[in-house]
Structures are given as C-alpha cells and as structure tokens.
Symmetry: C2
Subunit: 284 residues, 2 copies
C-alpha cells in the first residue's frame, strides 16, 4: 500500500509514522519547509514530494492540514485523482468540509474523517506511535462515498488502532463543541484567569498541584490550530459557551447564597460523569 | 514516634499509611464506623481508638477531617494536650481555622498545614503511598507556634516527601481559590453542561477523548468535601469565579465576532501557563 500524507504535524505525522511502522510506503508533502525537513529527519515518511507528485503516485491521500484550509484543497485534489484513488481528511470540524465537496464529480472517492486523538503538542516533532490506539474515529456522510473508498479508509484507521463510527456532519460539529472545543476554551480561559490574577508567577508554581495541572492541560495547545477550529465551529461553540457560562453563574449564585445543600446536589449530578467516562452506560 | 490521625479518608489515610511504612506507631480515630473498620482492615493504622485515648497516647496529633469541622475540634483538642504534644491540621482553607485558635492558651502547640495533594477519590480505600511525594506543603502562622512544634510537623511532612513553605492564611485562601478551588468548579460545571446537553450518554462516551477526560477529571471529586471547602472560602472563590466568567464572556465575544487575531492572541497568552507549570520562572 502506498499512502500520501499532506501536512506532517502532530496528526499527519503520527499517521505517517504508524503507517510506515506497519509497512506502508509513505510519501509526505508539507508547504512548511522546516516541517518538511523535520518529517524526513524524524523518519516519519519514506520521502517528501511536491503535491502533484504525491497525488500522482499514491493510492490513498490523507489531508492533515489545519482545518481552515481543508475545504479549499479537497476539491482541487479530487479534480486530479483517478477512480482507484481515495482521499480522506482528519479535520476537527466536518460540516463546512462536507458541504464544500458535496457536488464534486469525484465526491464518491472522498471520506470525511475525524480521529479523536491528540496531545497539547504540535508539529512533526510531536508525532508519536500509538497516539490513536484504542481511540474513536468518526466518519461523516459515508453514504456519499463508494463502498470500497470507505473500506480503504476504515482499513487505514484500523492500522492506527481505531474503531470508526458514523455521524452526520452537523451532529458531529455540535457534539464536538461540547466534548472537545468547550474543554479547550475552558482550559485556555482558566489559564488566562489565573495568569492575570497571579502576577507573582513563582507563587502559582508553588501552589498549583496536579488538579490544576490536569484541568489546565489543554491551555498548552496550539493557538493557530484551535483558532481555526473555533472559527469553523463558531455557532455550536458559542451555544456551548453560553450554556457553560450559565452553569457557572448558577454555581456562583449557590456559593454566594451559602446554599451547601444545592451545591452538593449539583456536584452529585456532575459526579455522574464518572459513569459516562467509564463507558458504563445505563439507559434511563 | 507515636502519631495519631483523626479522620482516615484520602488524606488522613494516606498520611497514616506513609507514617506506618516509615516506622512510626500510628493510632487512628474515625467517627465513621465503616471508615474505622476499613482503615484497620487496610492496615493504614496500628490500632483504632477513641478520641480521648488518642489524645492521651500520642506525641503528634493530625486532624484530617472535613474542613467545616476542623475549626470546631482543634480548640477542644488543644484543651486536653500537654506542652510536649503537637497538633496539626490539613484543611484546604486556613483563615477560619487560624482565627478559631489564635487566642487559645495552647496555640503555641498547633501548626496549621495544607499539603497540596489529592486525587478525585475519597475514603480510606483511596489512601495510597506516595500521594504527597515531591509535592508542596503550606504552613500558616508558624510564628504563633513554638519552634519545636513547627520542627515536629515539618519532620512529618518530610516523611511524606513534601517540601514546606510559609504563607499567611488570607493569602493562602485567596491563592487556593484560583489555583485549586476554581479548577474544581470549572470541572464540575463543565461536566454538568455536557451532561445536560448530551442526553444520549452513549454518544458522550463515544465522542469524548482524552482532552475532555483530563479537563473534567476533578468533576469526579467528593461533593461533600468540596462543598465545605467552597463554603469556607466563599468570598475568594466568588471573586475568582467572577473573573473566570468575565474571561469566558470575553472569549465568547471574540468567537462570535470572528476575531481570529484576537483569539490567537488570547490563546498565546494562555500558552504561557506551560512556562509557569514547568517552573521556569522568569521575573519580568
């Protein structure tokens, strides 16, 4: 199998590394020349080539560039492929991308994917093996792709160790706003709040324990990457933030009113996240 | 050395276990009979005794009960000790406790401490070795305690593997509001927001990745414990929440206005938390 990865950052680089480890021949392409050199030096790919050469040579093309550039490039790639090639993307929002290719004559060779994995690090040097192992992958509008195209991409994600599920793009973006994008905003703004109040940085370091570090971990994430994601999922994220601010305001009121019964009741409900995260699903 | 631990939950149990491992004789006392039996069965203590017997027998008394009960019990314990005994507490807020003992005739035998460690679990079964290893301990109003009393307690925390610093109770409570209590409210309300919107729990589990799990981890914490802490630190926490809500509202506005330049600028500032958490302190 010959696979081409466009964009060798954290996600693209990790996919390349894993595919190479598995035995695929991996071609890479990255407009960022520093990243291109790093990807080669780190042995993430067999060779780095120009975009047209990559499209001409490989069976599967993975688009792993920042989410704000994906909707623009996919149609151009689809223009150039033959009916035996398959293209997938890994963008963190899906509606705009699916909309952009829906009427393309080669739409049937495209699979819109979103592997739910990542770290707070970025660039080729952040690429690691096992980033995706036992994580979930989501695929949108698979009904618009040929069955063999979907199979090809499912196989790539199986090589990564992922199980795939199917979801429509709007539901995908709405749910991601809550379970991913909101967590990031929550962490970024928590970091800003603490940094703003604690001018004596030494003191933060002395006083911060593992609880703070865990909650604020995502605030280390790449601003450019996340700015694009937030922008592409603006409406759903804005709703999620509105809801979150309402819950915080309600909790603050309970604290201000010394209503410990109510605060315990709210935290008891929040504790239920244990059961959800464990996957012990009880349908009520 | 003979040490007595009152309250064998996560913190008290872990202190007892570590002291016993080190070779101290450890007596325990817990009004919760289930916890008392568990502590003995788990070998956290050498024996469980009544409060008065504990006070009569040990050299060092550690008060590890919920923070809303500490200010009430410490004066009663100080009433009964002799000048060679030392009492410490581990409460997560310090001002009320310090205020409650300030004029006690045996104030000089009390050391107000706060070991910055914990997990989201609770009770004797949550007690573990190395919970405190390489973490920070804070001590308030050490100038009101005898030098040998402070030395005795510093030695206990050294056994736990902790380095101690000194801070006044009001500063302690204010800083904790930001670097600990706010993180907990942030996580509890994030869990509530997501649980409320995502009625289909299976979907949350399918979509939630490690980023969400890390940010929401503290929402698994014990509601009764945290309700007491929030209540005891109501004013500082309310200010911190106000600041956090303002930052979130500002961030939402930036998203709504599609101002990616500003959102990148805000996240760049938030990224600075990396440097702080690493302890690479640059005073500007």
């Amino acid at each position: 199998m010959k696979i081409g990865i466009i964009g060798l950052g954290l996600i693209g680089g990790s996919i390349a590394k894993e595919c190479k480890e598995y035995g695929y021949e991996v071609l890479g392409c990255d407009l960022n020349t520093v990243h291109a050199e790093q990807a080669l030096a780190l042995n993430l790919v067999d060779k780095m080539v120009a975009l047209d050469q990559l499209i001409a040579e490989v069976e599967i093309i993975g688009v792993c560039i920042p989410v704000d550039l994906i909707a623009n490039i996919i149609p151009k790639i689809l223009d150039k492929i033959n009916p035996n090639q398959t293209v997938f993307d890994v963008g963190s929002t899906k509606k705009e991308i699916c909309d952009a290719v829906r009427n393309h004559e080669n739409r049937n060779r495209f699979v819109a994917a979103h592997p739910l994995a990542g770290t707070e690090f970025s660039g080729p040097s952040a690429a690691i093996l096992n980033l995706f192992r036992n994580k979930k992958n989501l695929i949108c509008e698979e009904e618009l792709a040929d069955k063999d195209a979907v199979q090809n991409i499912l196989q790539v994600f199986e090589v990564l160790g992922m199980q795939s599920s199917f979801l429509n793009p709007n539901d995908h973006d709405k749910h991601m706003a809550y379970v991913s994008h909101l967590s990031h905003v929550s962490a970024f703004t928590l970091a800003l709040t603490v940094l703003d109040i604690e001018k004596d940085e030494k003191l933060i370091f002395n006083l911060a324990s593992t609880g703070f570090e865990s909650t604020v971990r995502l605030a280390k994430s790449n601003p450019t990457t996340w700015s694009s994601i937030f922008d592409k999922n603006r409406h759903h994220l804005s709703d999620a933030l509105e809801n979150y601010i309402q819950h915080l305001t309600a909790f603050k009121k309970v604290i201000d009113e010394e209503n410990t019964t109510k605060s315990i009741e709210m935290m008891d409900r929040a504790n239920d996240i244990k059961r959800v995260l464990k996957g012990i699903v009880v349908n009520s």
